[in-house]
């Protein structure tokens, strides 16, 4: 069942696979990003309640969605690294972590920018905001743990374990935060927010949103793939295949 995975335990094979897949992500990613931004920012009609400022949704929602998705991807890479001892999976985990953290940060930052004109405040202790903040801390923990180790492989293994513990915990954290939010008496701002999300979105806004979600996924995946390949090259720089790829002539060392 895992037969197809084994060749990619070899960094060289992964490198060439990623190199081959890269244009298939990069070109649609760029085109769809352009489409989503032009459609979302210029063509889609303004919201009857929020006016033009709702347009930040085309960055905010995709970032928030994929911040969670990339954490799961990171945990899957961690599982592969721990169970099958696949070294490239460790590298994939390290490639995903900062990208996921930045997505989380973007969703928080655009949320604050959006919240200021809409709710009149940069930050409320809303369930979604709080859960997202904790997700950012989880990402930071994974990265900090990796950095703290001097031995890169030990650091990657420790980070994998932490990512797995985190992914078991994420649903619990998520539901507990939602529950905490409904339990406490909500501020009027929070209540206003929950009322706002009730009406469903108009199709003229929904389609550019869907495009922007796919575009954000593709662009983030490109970043992860580039990071992964750079890391593979960095670690394998002394190997002949890496040298030939980089166009550096391989010097045959003669013992005599």
């Amino acid at each position: 069942m895992w037969q197809w995975l084994h060749p990619y335990a070899k960094p060289e094979a992964t490198f060439h696979l990623v190199q081959k897949l890269l244009p298939w992500f990069l070109i649609p990613g760029l085109i769809l990003s352009a489409v989503a931004l032009i459609w979302g920012l210029a063509i889609a009609p303004p919201d009857y309640q929020q006016g033009e400022s709702y347009r930040i949704i085309f960055v905010h929602v995709p970032a928030a969605m994929w911040s969670m998705g990339f954490y799961v991807a990171m945990a899957i890479a961690g599982l592969l690294a721990l169970v099958w001892q696949i070294r490239t999976a460790e590298l994939a985990l390290l490639a995903i972590a900062p990208v996921g953290a930045v997505l989380t940060f973007i969703s928080l930052f655009t949320g604050a920018l959006w919240g200021q004109p809409m709710w009149g405040t940069w930050w409320v202790w809303d369930a979604r905001l709080t859960a997202q903040l904790i997700l950012l801390f989880l990402y930071m923990g994974v990265m900090a743990l990796y950095i703290a180790f001097e031995d890169e492989r030990a650091g990657a293994k420790a980070a994998s374990i932490l990512a797995l513990v985190g992914v078991i915990n994420i649903p619990i954290i998520h539901y507990s935060v939602y529950w905490w939010n409904t339990l406490h008496q909500q501020s009027t701002v929070t209540r206003a927010i929950t009322r706002l999300e009730a009406p469903s979105i108009a199709p003229e806004m929904l389609y550019p949103l869907l495009v922007s979600i796919v575009a954000m996924m593709l662009v983030s995946a490109v970043l992860v793939m580039k990071r992964l390949n750079n890391e593979i090259l960095r670690r394998e720089i002394h190997r002949p295949w890496a040298l030939t790829y980089l166009g550096i002539p391989v010097v045959q060392r003669n013992e005599e």
Partner: protein, 235 residues
């Protein structure tokens, strides 16, 4: 007395080793009592700081008491957490422990239990004092104590994972809190919710049951993660 030295040795029983580890760790801890006392004093001092910071009004203190006690308990737990594996790691006992012919998960569970006995039980003993200092209404004392009783095993279990991952690093402390505190958010939420429900006159059974479930989940699953973490650290 001449004893036959070889081939009469029975295979070791895991239950026996389990008890031995508990006895040994308790004895070692009793020889370094200040290590046990310091987190407790820290807890008391943090609790003392709150009235100084937010004002001594009994109504406001009563309202935030459960949250303050739980947050302080979390912080003081972070302080003493490293003791689970640190000394054993330094003198090599941890390596021996992993070489024992019993499942490592068993030994880890024993260490988690000892840690709970040494850190949580003293907190449980002084909880009424803390509740008194912060003017928590008396009808909520029992529930607060219950949340600490069933919630603190989560601290020891999750803490053991964190320490297993960081024990080989020299800069454990702050990193440990960064790793663990986000994971402990649900515990804090459920615990304070249980106390607040009691104060509001509602049954706290729901949050208590959730803490119980979380507690059982972490105590049963943590030893496996701890074993994986120790494998990384001990090498």
């Amino acid at each position: 007395m001449s004893k036959p030295t070889q081939s009469t040795r029975k295979p070791v029983a895991s239950g026996q080793i389990f008890r031995q580890i508990i006895r040994r760790d308790l004895r070692v801890a009793m020889r370094q009592r200040s290590d046990l006392l310091n987190p407790l004093i820290f807890l008391l001092i943090v609790i003392t700081l709150f009235p100084l910071g937010v004002g001594p009004g009994p109504d406001i203190l009563g309202r935030i008491a459960a949250g303050v006690i739980w947050v302080s308990a979390l912080l003081s737990a972070m302080l003493g957490l490293e003791r689970i594996f640190r000394d054993d790691f330094r003198d090599g006992a941890l390596e021996q422990l992993m070489l024992l012919p019993v499942a490592v998960e068993f030994s880890v569970l024993a260490k988690i239990i000892v840690h709970w006995l040494l850190t949580a039980v003293p907190v449980l003993i002084i909880t009424p004092l803390l509740a008194l200092l912060l003017n928590l209404p008396i009808q909520a004392w029992g529930v607060l104590w219950l949340t600490l009783l069933i919630g603190t095993p989560i601290l020891s279990a999750a803490g053991a994972i964190g320490v297993a991952l960081t024990v080989s690093l020299n800069k454990g402390g702050a990193l440990l809190s960064l790793l663990l505190l986000p994971l402990l958010v649900p515990l804090l939420i459920f615990a304070t919710a249980a106390v607040e429900a009691t104060l509001a006159g509602v049954s706290p059974a729901g949050p208590l049951a959730l803490i119980g479930a979380f507690s059982v989940l972490s105590v049963t699953l943590a030893p496996f993660a701890v074993k994986a973490g120790l494998r990384v650290s001990v090498n």
